[in-house]
């Protein structure tokens, strides 16, 4: 039992190390800095510029969090501070369903609903023509996908605030909203940041849904209505041909390694924050 436990802990190290070793060959021809700031992507000519993919990932993740954060905060406050228990049951069921929907279904929903909506209704107000397969579509789909995670983390954090804090504030004449604003949100601020970091790292790695709605053109997007090509989509789209072009495999493994490092840092630090909060209130 001890060895299984230790081995599964070592798995984190193994994955990181394995991906790093596989991506080493590409550093012999390109500096790390050049790789992540160049936007020339011609695998046949040994030119691997990751900038378009990194930019694409950052754009859609940012949009997703901006869209999902207010909805998640408000509904988590509603669930913990305001709502009756039978309402809670309904919302939690909806959240369970939302969390259980496979990402490929989100992708299908994106192509059937969000993409046409953007290209027919929204985009004509701003740009001349857009296919709908855009940064914005990726951001919206991703935002809906991280909602259940964000809300359940927020509910967990808000519930950790002791009853007495609320009672003290309410007995001084504060309304429930004032209590939520000045006591709950302020007390749990580090926890909220940590939860957002967790949701960010979930959004970074989401593959199949964004692959289906982002358009996948390797260029740096300049507006919400441009196509983009996030890192996970790059890996998923090209793994088949990567063995035939030299250094291609190494480049894709570098993409996976970048994802791993970002997710690792975000996860480890935010988990540490959440542990500390839960211990503080115990």
């Amino acid at each position: 039992m001890f060895s299984i436990t230790v081995f599964s802990v070592l798995l984190v190290v193994l994955i990181g190390l394995g991906l790093y070793l596989k991506s080493v060959p590409i550093f012999e021809h390109n500096s790390f800095w050049h790789l992540i700031t160049s936007s020339e992507w011609r695998p046949g000519n040994n030119q691997f510029g990751f900038l378009p993919f990194i930019a694409g990932t950052l754009w859609i993740t940012l949009i997703a969090v901006i869209l999902a954060l207010p909805i998640a905060l408000l509904s988590a406050l509603f669930l913990t501070e305001f709502s009756k228990s039978y309402l809670k049951k309904w919302v939690f069921t909806a959240l369970d369903i939302l969390a259980g929907i496979p990402s490929v279904v989100y992708g299908v929903w994106g192509t059937l609903f969000i993409v046409p909506w953007i290209s027919e209704k929204l985009a004509p107000h701003f740009v001349e023509y857009s296919t709908g397969y855009t940064v914005l579509a990726g951001g919206i789909v991703l935002g809906v996908m991280i909602l259940p995670l964000l809300i359940s983390l927020f509910v967990e954090i808000f519930s950790a605030v002791p009853r007495e804090f609320r009672d003290a504030s309410l007995s001084l004449g504060a309304t429930k909203w004032q209590t939520s604003k000045h006591v709950i949100l302020r007390k749990t601020f580090p926890g909220i940041l940590a939860a957002v970091a967790l949701a960010l790292s979930r959004a970074f790695g989401e593959t199949i849904a964004v692959l289906m709605v982002c358009g996948n053109l390797p260029m740096v997007p300049h507006s919400l209505f441009d196509s983009c090509y996030p890192l996970p989509a790059l890996i998923a789209n090209n793994y088949g041909e990567m063995l035939s072009v030299p250094l291609y495999e190494s480049a894709l493994m570098l993409a996976a390694f970048l994802l791993f490092i970002v997710v690792f840092i975000f996860n480890a630090s935010s988990r540490a924050v959440i542990y500390r909060i839960e211990r503080k209130f115990k």
Partner: protein, 281 residues
């Protein structure tokens, strides 16, 4: 009316809108998939494997993907349970509450939980190339097992941490060894195991990025662990990338089948969880 009461009303209004938005998304997603998926749905879809020229509008169905997905989910759930139950038992019975190893292990599982499936897929793929393996059902099962072990351990551990210390003490007082205590512990964390299984089955059946690298895709039903296996999410994805409108319609039906399986599993899971909760003290 005082300003703070007006503010309260407005804030509450926004909160209700936000919660309704969550509902609206669920209803909209399910409605959209049903509306587009129902027309092309027929018995052949779920009872036949793809016939020749299926991806150009030929006959047949996606039985290969349904069976492939079920094989992978079944295999990885069993493997995952076999690995994670001993780990949870070790963390909670053998290690002390403030043990350093337990803290690091929990943190590591949290990190593993966050690692995207495409990274697992890429990692497993490099190992498979290194070992000279081809894409296969076995590879798919392995990578999905890696993916769901953190879910298993995290959600079982949550329940196991609530175990009353007195309960363990009473088993020791009756002369049980630590290993024999597992009979009592297992019964107590049974609802946790059920919930964990439910969560991980949901994640396992819906994962596309991990199996894309490792299980491959095929039109036939695999008969051994060495053969490639099709999976439902990938089947949806490949049919949707076809330029043929009929094939795209079938992708929507396949998505409908997938969502149906997921919903059935979650309802069944809820019933089973309630059943197992009866031993809990």
């Amino acid at each position: 009316m005082r300003l703070k009461f007006i503010e309260e009303k407005i804030a509450k209004g926004f909160m209700i809108i936000a919660s309704l938005a969550v509902f609206a998304f669920v209803v909209n997603i399910i409605y959209t998939i049903f509306r587009r998926g129902i027309p092309a749905l027929n018995w052949a879809m779920i009872s036949q494997i793809p016939a020749g020229g299926y991806y150009n509008g030929g006959g047949g169905g996606i039985l290969n993907a349904i069976v492939g997905s079920l094989y992978i989910v079944l295999g990885s759930t069993i493997l995952g349970l076999l690995i994670s139950i001993p780990v949870v038992f070790y963390l909670n019975v053998y290690l002390k509450k403030d043990s350093r190893l337990a803290y690091i292990a929990r943190l590591a599982f949290d990190v593993l939980f966050g690692i995207p499936s495409i990274v697992y897929g890429a990692f497993a793929f490099t190992i498979m190339i290194y070992l000279g393996m081809h894409t296969s059902l076995g590879g798919g099962i392995l990578v999905i097992t890696l993916l769901i072990i953190p879910i298993f351990i995290r959600s079982m551990d949550e329940v196991a941490q609530q175990l009353p210390k007195d309960l363990l003490d009473s088993t020791y007082a009756l002369g049980a060894t630590k290993l024999e205590t597992i009979k009592v512990v297992l019964r107590q964390i049974a609802p946790g195991i059920a919930t964990a299984t439910l969560l991980s089955v949901g994640r396992a059946i819906g994962d596309a990025a991990g199996v894309m690298f490792t299980a491959g895709f095929t039109d036939s039903i695999p008969t051994s662990l060495n053969q490639p296996a099709a999976t439902l999410p990938l089947s949806v994805f490949f049919q949707l990338s076809s330029p043929n409108a009929d094939v795209q319609d079938r992708a929507y039906s396949a998505a409908l089948i997938l969502i149906f399986i997921v919903l059935v599993i979650s309802i069944l899971g809820r019933l089973i969880t309630n059943y197992f909760s009866k031993h809990k003290i």
